[in-house]
Amino acid sequence: MPHRTFTRRSLLAAGSAGMATLGTGLLVPARAAGVAPTPTMRGGANNYLPGAPVVDRIGGGGFWMTGTVRRAGDGAPLAGQRIQIWAHTTEGHERDPHSHGATLTDANGVFRLEMPQIVPAFGQPHGHLAYDSGEFDTVFLRPVMPSSSDTSLEAHFVLQPL
């Protein structure tokens, strides 16, 4: 006597339910990763000049670019990471080499670099930041100031190990 465990109907039903479950991602193994890596922003790399020197301050200063650098997954702060910064400021265009500078993160993964006041250029008051030291995936950011009268701007990196 034939004993059919699956009818065609139950097979289709079970199959599609299974596919749907996979599709939702419910069966993906638990990841230790909580913190997703920061994607590169559109236009972030515009007017990038590789190898900007680490400086105490870009130009005369008066404006602060601040932020943090963390590792993707566990979110651990990354010390000693080189972040390059450039913008259109009261002292020069984005493409001018003297508008570019770099700084290193401290033990808490925090960076802070003084630079000239950022002024609106190409329609928005914005800055550019880059991580491209090679230990993690390269990331370019292009944060926009909520107001052009702001005297500081923040940008945060979560880097994906290579």
Binding site: G43, G44, N46, T89, E94, F122, G123
Partner: protein, 221 residues
């Protein structure tokens, strides 16, 4: 005599208002503090854009021939010249911004820019070029006059809408109030022109070319 004077005063007032509406945004932008931190090429690029916006205000008024002191034929001729200048201003705007920051302009032209106003600007540019090409090839294209006009009018409407979006979303050298006023006037002039054309068509429904049958306003000047 008094009627002639009143007419002259009215004509003068209309042209003075128009000149003020076109020139005050340029004048106020010339006082922008941002100019101090821009090189001459960048400044030129910005002003070419502002000038293009001012010229845009003239086009619907000239196309419908509602400006006093100009015959219908004269208005058409000026409309063509202003259209050519508009194309020139857009070319200077794009070229100067390209020189100022090539990657930003390339992103914009490829519609890959992070800023939505660049995408509106590029659409406006192509619509200006298309409307001008249509005008330059008017005879050679041999379209039916109604078809040609509908196409030119559609492109012109697209230019107005996208150029206004582009301008309003930009934080640049233009002073906020005069910018908003100019944009409102450009939209108003375009809307008025579309309504005028519609009512003229209704008034002469049997004619094939309704616009040319309308008597010129103030042919004597």
């Amino acid at each position: 005599m008094a009627a002639v004077d009143r007419h002259r005063v009215r004509t003068g007032l209309i042209w003075a208002t128009l000149a003020g509406a076109m020139l005050s945004p340029v004048g106020l932008a010339a006082a922008s503090p941002l100019l101090a931190w821009r090189d001459p090429v960048y400044v030129t690029g910005g002003f070419a854009g502002i000038l293009a916006m001012s010229l845009l205000l003239l086009q619907p008024l000239l196309a419908t021939g509602v400006l006093p002191g100009l015959s219908q034929a004269g208005a058409r001729r000026v409309h063509r010249w202003v259209g050519g200048s508009l194309v020139g201003a857009v070319v200077v705007h794009v070229a100067a911004l390209w020189i100022t920051s090539p990657p930003d302009m390339i992103d914009a032209l490829l519609l890959a820019s992070p800023t939505p106003f660049s995408i509106w600007g590029v659409i406006a540019m192509w619509a200006v070029f298309a409307a001008a090409t249509l005008a330059a090839l008017r005879r050679r294209l041999r379209l039916r006059p109604t078809t040609w006009r509908a196409a030119h009018r559609t492109l012109a409407t697209a230019v107005v809408i996208t150029a206004v979006l582009h301008t309003m979303l930009i934080e640049g050298t233009m002073e906020t109030l005069s910018k908003a006023a100019l944009c409102a006037l450009v939209i108003g002039a375009m809307a008025a022109a579309l309504l005028t054309i519609r009512s003229r068509k209704r008034r002469a429904p049997q004619k094939r070319r309704p616009e040319t049958t309308v008597p010129t306003e103030d042919a004597g000047g």
